[in-house]
Every structure is written in structure tokens, then in C-alpha cells.
């Protein structure tokens, strides 16, 4: 089977949707020459009417996308840096998101916001290394964080076809993941549906984005001692609570590993949602960035602030220590 890289999966999703639906168009900075690689070849194939390079005016082009969506288009906006979402937070949260309700159902704002390379890009330091997906889960914007090439393809396609705004985070830590893929089988992945990546009996580990791969590695490592189930929610909002409950109801133990800040992060949400519904055999644990994290530049410091395998292993041991 051919190998598909995560980055190419994004490109393919964009190309397929551009080809399928005239209403789809892309806009962002340096997307013609594909500085982020994600739009490679698309300008040549689809032309300047479908692939728009913008000035450095994130607020205006984000709202331009909103307006185009209100008028019937399906824009995809690429952002070069995760923190640019801070800059357009008002435009997304206070406008695109609110238009349908505020107008009493007169319109929809189907915009996709794509961030290729979210989270730490080693060496890019404090203002370029955020992972702000929990913010969007809080405000209630559909938020997808694909972990694999297949999901990157399928979730991006679903995002573009979705009638509300969707933010797709493509973690820097996942961009180089490759997968054997039957191209004909690539398909939309439903928003709001998680997947068990590895079955296990003793503890459910929920891992977000690139951390799915770390969780799988840790699960392998622990295979002799602890039977770890790895749950990949794929979409953080809406969250597949039924899917996760089914897993946790079996294992009775929960660890969440997530690359956003601890306080009010998705890990807190997952834990709260589970303990409201499922009795646990041990207190749940989370492995996250620290509160208020700012990623320092030096690689050793940068790594120290991110959730890693050692911390996850420790958390698993903690929740399973009273035996299974």
C-alpha cells in the first residue's frame, strides 16, 4: 500500500474538496507557493480565484471568510502560527460562531480554520508554540485535532463540509507521521466521533493529537504490566463522550494526556464529564502543559514544559497502583 504523510493528507483533502465543490476556496498567507507545504500544487491546479494569498491582515481576511461564508461559500483559512488564532479570536468567536443564532437562523458560516503545525515547533519559542484547542472547545467551536494521516484527511474533509465553523489543528508533532493507506478508502471522518486506537483492560488513556502516538508507545512499553486502552477523541468539541464512557466503564480508570495548559483544558473537561457519569476505581489523572505555560526557547526547556512519555507512564502507574 502507498505511504501517505500527514501533510500530504491535508493537501489531498483540500484538493478533493476544491475539485468537488465550487464553493470551496482557500485563503491565507503564502499559500500560493505553499510555504507550509500544505497547499502544494493547489494554486497551479485551481488558480488565483480559488487559492488566495492574503496580505498580513489576519483580522480582515478571517472576517472576509465569514462574509464569503454568509454569502454561500465555504472558505478554508490557513494560519501560519497557532497564536494567530488569538489575533482573530474575536472574528471567529464573536462573529462567525454567533451569526446563526443571532440572526434567528437566517444564515450559516461554514468556515474551516486550518493550523498546520500547532503546538511546539522546536526552536520557535514562546509566541509560536501554543496549542490553543481548549479555548475553542470552551467557546463551542467545532475543534478537530487529527492524529493520523487518515484522520487528517477525513476530518479536514468533514470540516469543510460542515455547516458551522470548524478549527482543525494539525500538531507539529504529527506532521511527519506516515501511514500505509489505500487511497481509494480515504473518506470523511465524522466530527464528534472518537476511536479506540488500542484495546486494553486496566486503564483508559485519552490522548489528543500527536500525543496519541506517545500514548501508543507507552502502552506498548507497559504491555507486560498494565493493559492500556488508548482512546483518541479526534474531535474535542463536540466530544465523543459516549465512546469514552464505554471505554472507561470497562477499565474503571482514566488518564488524560493533552498538550494544552492544565487549568480549564480539555483534560479537565474530560475528567469532569467522566466523573459525572462513570464511577472510577481510582482518582483520574491528567498529564498536560503546566498552568499558564509559555514555551521557552532552549530545546531542553521547551521539552520540559510539554507532556511527555515519562509523565504519562507515571500517571498510569498512579491510577493503577492499587492493582487492577
Amino acid at each position: 500500500m502507498p505511504r501517505l504523510s500527514y501533510r500530504k493528507a491535508l493537501t489531498r483533502a483540500l484538493a478533493d474538496e476544491l475539485a468537488r465543490d465550487e464553493r470551496v476556496f482557500l485563503l491565507g498567507e503564502d499559500i500560493r507557493v505553499a510555504a507550509s507545504h500544505v497547499t502544494a500544487g493547489l494554486f497551479t491546479r485551481f488558480g488565483p480565484e480559488r487559492v488566495l494569498d492574503t496580505p498580513l491582515s489576519e483580522q480582515a481576511f478571517t472576517s472576509f471568510a465569514t462574509g464569503a461564508a454568509l454569502a454561500g461559500m465555504r472558505p478554508v483559512v490557513e494560519f501560519q502560527i497557532p497564536s494567530l488564532l488569538f489575533l482573530v479570536f474575536e472574528q471567529i468567536v464573536n462573529h462567525a460562531h454567533k451569526f446563526p443564532l443571532m440572526t434567528g437562523g437566517q444564515c450559516a458560516a461554514p468556515v474551516t480554520y486550518l493550523v498546520p503545525g500547532s503546538g511546539s515547533r522546536t526552536g520557535w519559542a514562546g509566541q509560536h508554540s501554543d496549542h490553543p484547542y481548549s479555548l475553542f472547545a470552551h467557546v463551542g467551536i467545532v475543534t478537530a485535532v487529527p492524529a493520523t494521516p487518515t484522520d487528517a484527511y477525513g476530518l479536514l474533509v468533514s470540516a469543510i463540509r460542515h455547516d458551522d465553523p470548524v478549527v482543525v489543528f494539525a500538531p507539529a508533532g504529527a506532521l511527519d507521521v506516515r501511514e500505509d493507506v489505500d487511497f481509494a478508502a480515504l473518506a470523511p471522518v465524522p466530527l464528534g466521533r472518537g476511536v479506540v486506537r488500542r484495546a486494553g483492560d486496566d486503564v483508559t488513556v485519552v490522548a489528543v493529537g500527536h500525543l496519541v502516538h506517545d500514548a501508543l508507545a507507552v502502552a506498548e512499553e507497559l504491555a507486560g504490566q498494565v493493559s492500556v486502552e488508548v482512546f483518541d477523541p479526534r474531535t474535542l468539541y463536540p466530544f465523543d463522550l459516549d465512546g469514552l464512557c464505554a471505554s472507561v466503564a470497562r477499565t474503571g480508570r482514566l488518564v488524560v494526556v493533552d498538550d494544552s495548559n492544565r487549568s480549564c483544558g480539555i483534560a479537565a473537561e474530560i475528567i469532569a464529564s467522566i466523573v459525572e457519569r462513570v464511577p472510577l476505581a481510582a482518582p483520574p489523572r491528567r498529564v498536560t502543559r503546566p498552568d499558564g505555560a509559555v514555551l521557552p526557547f532552549a530545546p531542553g526547556l521547551d521539552r520540559a514544559v510539554q507532556p511527555g512519555r515519562a509523565a504519562l507512564t507515571a500517571a498510569i502507574h498512579l491510577v493503577t497502583k492499587d492493582g487492577t
Binding site: 480565484e49 492574503t54 496580505p55 491582515s57 483580522q59 480582515a60 481576511f61 478571517t62 472576517s63 472576509f64 471568510a65 465569514t66 462574509g67 464569503a68 461564508a69 454568509l70 454569502a71 454561500g72 461559500m73 472558505p75 474575536e90 472574528q91 464573536n94 462573529h95 451569526f99 446563526p100 443564532l101 443571532m102 440572526t103 434567528g104 437562523g105 437566517q106 444564515c107 450559516a108 458560516a109 461554514p110 463551542g140 467545532v142 460542515h162 455547516d163 458551522d164 464528534g192 463536540p238
Partner: protein
């Protein structure tokens, strides 16, 4: 250009004027909750600009948006129902004064965030044109909005991509209590010109002058011209917001208010009609508004069970906030 017909222009300014006065009564009565930003004194701008537009053209308004919505053709009864928070309102009572919208007549909404709508309108007009529709747009904003970076970014985008948007600055001299000279370095027209956009100053108190300027710009835009700016000099006759009817804020000298009010767009345009014409329009407007108010008051309030209707156009069901 029948839309510039003096009687029609008069009807529009008169309609807005009386609509606002009725709405203020309803604010005082407690029927309209949250108050409004009265458009009194500025009616000539919405009337003049919208008379230069077609039904399919697009507009966005402001927090002071009733005039924009009405002038573009929204039903006054459904607009009044919206202000009263009724199920029959333009937005099913979900929007209120600052979000009133009627997509069916090209009103993409009033907007409660100063400076935010320009880029939205630019995108919408671009989209319609890309789909082959011969559409232009007008976006209204105040003198305060020209200090918002997001609006200036929109100037650039529209100019760069030659999107036919008329940027209409309603310069009423104040942003809430801030005089324009305390907030705007340079000039308003200069800010448009900086982006290569033609810009003109017009007397906002004269609906016909506004219309002439807007019609000329719209004509150039339909002929393939890029965006333009019109700065309409005007005066806000009443409060920034009706809360000022209750709490006095001291920032406009009384003489200035008197002078400002002396140039009344309704009187100016009315002066161009015969007494009989004017009386006929006034009676018709009054009847329309009587009916509008009656319609609003007779309409049901929305069912709280539907409080989250339309939260997601996709039909996504939001988790409730209850335990």
C-alpha cells in the same frame, strides 16, 4: 433613478424618524429591553445610500443600525417585533436592536462590534460576484470605527482586490462621548485615500446630497471600479444610547446640540415636497408604524425551550448547562 425620487427619500427618512421615536417610547415603557442607540438626525445617510442600491446589493449596519435595516427594505413591523424580542421579529427575537438582520433584502445585520462589519461585507460582496451576481455593497460605520485596525485592514483588502464596497462613514462628531478630534489623527477621508481609495465628504443632513454621492460611487463600482469611501457629516440628535435618558453624561455643549439639531434631514427633505405630498407620506408612515407597533405587541415572545435554536446551523446539539 426613480429611487432618488424626493418623495421616496422623504418617506424613508420620515419612516426611520418616526420608527425611532416609537421605539424610544417603547424603551421608556419597558417593552424594548436593553435600550437602543437612536439614529435620530442621521436618517439621511441610510436613506440616501440605500436608495442608490438594488435589492440584491448587500449592506451591513452598526449598533446604531435601525436606519440601515429599514432603508434597505426590511419590514418595519418585523423590525419592531425584533426590538420587542418577539418570535415574529426579523431574527425571531434572538438578535434585538444591535443584531437586527434581514438577509432576504441584503441586510447582513446591524453589528454590535465597532469596525467589525467592513471585512465581513467585503467578503460577502466578493463571494456574490465570484458566483456571477452583479452585486455591490455598502457598509456603514461611525467616526469612532476609523480607529479600529480591523476596519483599516478591510480598507486595504477591498482596495487591493477591488471589491466594490462603499464604505460609508457616518461622522456624527462623537464616538460615545469622545469627540472626533480627540480620537482621529489626520482625516477620515485621508485614511481611505491612503489605501488608494477615492473618498468624498458629503453633507449627511441632506438625503439628496448623500444619494447623489452614493449613486455616483455605486455607478463607478458597477462599471468595474474599486471601493470608495463617503464621509457623511452628520449630527446625532439624541443620546448615544437611551441609557443617557436616565443617566446624564456631560460631553456635548448645549449650543452645539441646538446647532446640530437645526439641520434636520427630515425637514430638509420634507421641504422639497408640497404640503399635500408630505401630509400623505406622513399619514402613510404613521399608519405603517401603528400597524408595526400593534403587530409587535400582539406577537408572542419566543418559547424559552427554543433558547438555543440556531446555535449551530449544522444542527449540532449543544450540551445543556444543567446538572
Amino acid at each position: 433613478m426613480t429611487d432618488a425620487d424626493p418623495v421616496r427619500l422623504y418617506r424613508t427618512v420620515r419612516l426611520i424618524r418616526r420608527f425611532e421615536e416609537r421605539a424610544i417610547d417603547l424603551v421608556r415603557a419597558g417593552t424594548i429591553v436593553g435600550g437602543i442607540h437612536p439614529y435620530l438626525g442621521q436618517e439621511g445617510i441610510a436613506a440616501g445610500v440605500c436608495a442608490a442600491l438594488r435589492g440584491t446589493d448587500l449592506v451591513t449596519g452598526t449598533h446604531r443600525g435601525h436606519g440601515h435595516v429599514l432603508a434597505k427594505g426590511a419590514d418595519p413591523a418585523r423590525m419592531m417585533a425584533e426590538l420587542c424580542g418577539r418570535e415574529t421579529g426579523l431574527n425571531r427575537g434572538r438578535g434585538g436592536s444591535m443584531h437586527a438582520a434581514d438577509f432576504s433584502v441584503g441586510v447582513l445585520g446591524a453589528n454590535a462590534i465597532v469596525g467589525a462589519a467592513g471585512a465581513i461585507l467585503t467578503g460577502a460582496v466578493w463571494a456574490r460576484r465570484r458566483r456571477g451576481e452583479d452585486v455591490v455593497g455598502a457598509t456603514f460605520f461611525g467616526d469612532g470605527a476609523v480607529n479600529e485596525g480591523m476596519l483599516l485592514e478591510a480598507f486595504n483588502l477591498a482596495a487591493l482586490w477591488r471589491v466594490p464596497v462603499l464604505f460609508v462613514c457616518e461622522n456624527n462628531g462623537y464616538a460615545t462621548t469622545m469627540p472626533v478630534d480627540g480620537a482621529v489623527a489626520g482625516t477620515i477621508t485621508g485614511r481611505a485615500e491612503a489605501f488608494g481609495m477615492p473618498a468624498a465628504v458629503v453633507d449627511g443632513q441632506d438625503p439628496q446630497q448623500v444619494h447623489a454621492a452614493a449613486a455616483a460611487a455605486v455607478g463607478r463600482m458597477r462599471d468595474g471600479g474599486g471601493p470608495e469611501l463617503v464621509e457623511a457629516r452628520t449630527y446625532r440628535f439624541d443620546a448615544h444610547h437611551t441609557f443617557e435618558h436616565v443617566v446624564r453624561l456631560d460631553y456635548r455643549p448645549p449650543q452645539e446640540v441646538t446647532a446640530g439639531r437645526s439641520r434636520d434631514p427630515v425637514r430638509i427633505q420634507g421641504g422639497r415636497l408640497s404640503d399635500a405630498e408630505r401630509a400623505a407620506v406622513d399619514a402613510e408612515v404613521e399608519a405603517t408604524l401603528d400597524a408595526a407597533v400593534a403587530y409587535a405587541l400582539a406577537s408572542p415572545e419566543p418559547d424559552p425551550a427554543g433558547a438555543l435554536d440556531h446555535l449551530y446551523a449544522s444542527g449540532l446539539n449543544a450540551r445543556s448547562g444543567g446538572a
